[in-house]
């Protein structure tokens, strides 16, 4: 296991809940690992499964999808869509031999700065354990 592995991680955060939660974590100066690229989207449902597949195929080590809690989606049922898609994306990754733990779905509200910190830190550590995405070293 490589000691100094700096993972590349994407975090898709929905504008109304999880991105606000991320903001709160930042404003509250909560300590967080630096290697996470936060991408703001209007709703977690706008994270089409294609983005997740493409990220993983390109060699991104971990992808986090954060949305509103079920029942709190700004667009009513957007996060229902996400709740169904992401588990399937993970299963498909497992089918081809990629570790499904590289994609994670969680719900973070605008008030949950601490939860945001916890989820990010846990995820980064988990991905560090998993090591680099094996597709990084594959030349197609």
């Amino acid at each position: 296991m490589m000691a100094e592995f700096d993972p590349t991680i994407l975090a898709f955060c929905c504008n109304w809940c999880s991105y606000a939660g991320a903001d709160l974590a930042g404003v509250s100066r909560l300590q967080m690992p630096p290697n996470v690229h936060v991408i703001r989207v209007m709703c977690s449902a706008s994270v089409k499964p294609e983005y997740l597949m493409k990220a993983v195929s390109q060699g991104v080590d971990g992808v986090l999808v954060l949305g509103c809690h079920i029942g709190d989606c700004h667009y009513m049922t957007g996060n229902h869509r996400t709740a169904k898609r992401v588990p399937l994306v993970k299963k498909i990754m497992g089918d081809v031999g990629l570790d499904e733990r590289r994609v994670r779905l969680d719900w973070v509200s605008a008030a949950e700065g601490e939860k945001f910190q916890k989820v990010i830190t846990e995820f980064v550590n988990e991905v560090k354990e998993l090591g680099p995405n094996p597709l990084r070293s594959v030349r197609f």
Binding site: P49, M53, H80, I92, P134, F140
Partner: protein, 243 residues
Amino acid sequence: MREEHGNVAPALVSKGDDIGDVRIDVPYQLVNILETIYPWTSGKIAILTRRCDEKALAELFKRGLIDEARIAMIGLGCSKEQVRLCRCEDPVPTKVDVGEASAPAKGDELEAKLSKMSPEERLRFWVGQFKKCNKCFACTTNCPVCFCDDCVLEEKTFVSELGIPPGMSFHLIRSFHLADKCIECGECERSCPASIPLLTLRKMVLKDVKELFDYTPGDKKTSSPLLTTLDDQPLVGDECNEC
């Protein structure tokens, strides 16, 4: 399907015309062919349908892409050899008008082998297979349930242009989009010039869909779980009917 010029050709025969020497041993994907020619036909169409074709039509009916009232199905039972080649576990159409009612296959050998492998071995297997892909789009062109006019695989964001082979994203994205529609006809695998075992991958993903949502495509009454809420209500504001 019938004999023409020393080959077997798909054919749409109008009333009163000679049907010719019919063949049932060459597995043309007639539902896929029907989809292309459908706007240029009128009246009622009878189509030779295997069990998988019935299920494909069900998927198309429930999305309003083909008018059920216009279609009459002639049940075609696959031969033992065809069942073996497809590793088909559901080979008998609702009514067998032509062909035989064969026993189902006992599962996909390759699938069993892959599930016993470690993830690294499995990844190495699939990467080795996908490296042969030549972006012919046969899998999408010949698939009966691949019906999008603007295919996401044709968007540069997700599958880079010009590159051969097209990388994993092509196959992973396709697997997702078919997950709630694939009826295991095997046409993708049969038309792949690189002989990639696509049918096996479809079967693996269908098992995942069954496990996650207790859903199997092919029934015209139930909606895809990807188009419903967690409480099985239809999703609101559904512009695109895909996923």
